[in-house]
């Protein structure tokens, strides 16, 4: 079974502070990991995925297979980063159904 755990329901920081949103996963094969973001009153949208190894809006995430983690990081948070962040996992063995964590609400204070 595949499972995604986001231990923090809420993360509150001040502008300019570093941010790390934690994500741990459980999957028996080689998963594909994603971070989705949902800004207030908007749809879920893909922020980044581990296979592309890119930085989007200053966010990065590295897949650590040893620790089964895919934490999302940004060195200097901005107010516009305030949103819900969902870590998601897709199996690569067939159906690719994304499984989501419960989400972490990031609030960046001015």
């Amino acid at each position: 079974a595949q499972r995604v755990t986001q231990p923090e329901k809420l993360l509150s920081v001040f502008k300019g502070a570093p941010v790390e949103l934690k994500c741990n996963y459980s999957y028996s094969g080689s998963p594909e990991l994603f971070w989705y973001v949902q800004y207030s009153r908007q749809r879920l949208q893909l922020l980044l995925r581990h296979i592309s190894r890119e930085s989007i809006k200053g966010f990065t995430a590295d897949l650590n297979k040893g620790e089964t983690s895919f934490h999302l990081k940004k060195p200097f948070a901005q107010e516009e980063d305030s949103a819900m962040y969902y870590c998601a996992l897709s199996g690569t063995g067939g159906s690719y159904i994304p499984t989501f964590g419960r989400g972490t609400s990031l609030i960046v204070h001015p």
Partner: protein, 114 residues
Amino acid sequence: EPEVTQTPSHQVTQMGQEVILRCVPISNHLYFYWYRQILGQKVEFLVSFYNNEISEKSEIFDDQFSVERPDGSNFTLKIRSTKLEDSAMYFCASRDERGSTEAFFGQGTRLTVV
């Protein structure tokens, strides 16, 4: 940029009534999904649909739920006899078959059962 669209954005219904939530996936996508999110909880998978049939479903997707693609563009979720606990945000998503595992989501339909 093409988007998944869902209608209505908000639906209020009485307990026991049938509701149909509508989705128009991105036109060249072949995999379709419904998810729901009860207020304050995580996004939960309901069902996936491919080649005009259900490919997978979760234990949440019981006999009260059904999906269909009536006309080749719309993808609908029907709840036959709504219960209070069906109140949630329902998200439709679609995916391109060609190797991409990225799912594109609609803006959601908020269903309120009273």
